[in-house]
Amino acid sequence: MTTRQAQAIQVHGLEKSYGGLRVLRGVDFTVARGGIFALLGSNGAGKTTVVKILSTLLKPDAGTARVNGFDVAAQAADVRESISLTGQFAAVDEILSGRENLVLVARLRHLGNPGEVADDLLERFSLTDAAARRVSTYSGGMRRRLDIAMSLIGDPPVIFLDEPTTGLDPQARIEVWQVVKELAAQGTTVLLTTQYLDEAEQLADRIAILHEGRIIVNGTLSELKRLLPPAEIEYVEKQPTLEDVFLALVGADGKDRNAGTNA
């Protein structure tokens, strides 16, 4: 087993500036195959820039990056065969129906059975009832589910999720988390960026904090926790959070949401 096969993503000394603004100042990290890696950082930390470089949408000024063993600069076409990108905003075609969106992506990935692939994903993401409706009538959560479903077409070994739950309600957020966990369970490598600490805590087996253009820490949650002095034991009365209350009242299982729309 070579390192090339063990590591799904290898990033060394990545630098990128926009004009005079140095967004990335030497970013290094690796992501193991089948892992969920969270890139944590505040707005403007450069998370999206890293994702865009890894998905061949941007060229770095310096440094190298390999995805699934392929160099993002020299073997961009092979990288694109290996990845799927789910950007910050659901990249779906509003004028097409949900099913048409999935068929479109399946055709562009040159699959032989686009209709079948679409129907399977609609089923899996509880979108079958809404399949024939235009996406412009979907709720934010449905849109995001469709967006992620589109990214799974062709079973790419590496998936980038750029702030997948920003702007979603708590239920939709839990649905997305569920999907991400299932993906990793099947052996897909997931790199997700987030500004929510609890999201990284919930999902990731490794967390890196991107701050002022560099990775300042990188480790498992327990490793990161060990960086601070040992916790003091205090007596705290455990009050339900507003999120617990909200989810208890409206039902947290996230089913039966197909009828939900923005309208």
Partner: protein, 253 residues
Amino acid sequence: MSKHFFGDTAVLLGRSLRHITRSADTIITTAVMPIAMLLLFVYVFGGAIDTGSVPYVNYLLPGILLITVASGIAYTAFRLFMDMRSGIFERFQSMPTARSSVLWAHVLTSVVANSISLVVVVLVALLMGFRSGAGLPAWLSVAGILLLFTLALTWLAVIPGLVAKTADGASAFSYPLIFLPFLSSAFVPTATMPGPLRVFAEHQPVTSIVNAIRDLFTQQPVGAGLWTALAWCAGLLVVAYGLAMNTYRRKVS
């Protein structure tokens, strides 16, 4: 060129054509403005414009056809801008597809949409009394000129589609293109214009293209004028394509 170029372009063309059939208003609004001008100029101003023995509607139609194309291509810029803003452009670019297919699909969609608008405008002109004794070869030549002109202007429209910051900005670039035929032989014979304006009007592309189409419709010998018109169209196409691809490469690299 990727081995999937034609297949991917066909898939994406199917997608944009679906957009058009689901918002047919884009074709209707493209045709409405030129038809309104046709009505206004033929029935209001036309009587006062001396075009010799040629009925004014026959004189005017070639210029109106170019205005139809100039207003139609604004939708290419608009649709491309919407793809950029929604993130679906980036999704396509990060997939194992032939990357330039995304642009070609929009360009071919423009050709289809503009062809429909042009047919509608010609039908209205026929209702208003436009007549031509032109045979099939002449009509095909007119179609060929209009196709080249549409391609050239559409590639030009790709540029604001890629770089615009707002939807209005993406479409606004077509206003000067719509205005250009007024400073040509499209509405009035250039001989009536004052000196410098006349020089400009006689040497800008719209005049030579309008004159070539007019000669084809009226079965005049086209001669060198046709080649000037074709050279303008081909030259514009090459320059617009080059600029658009250059803008695109800077955008996706």
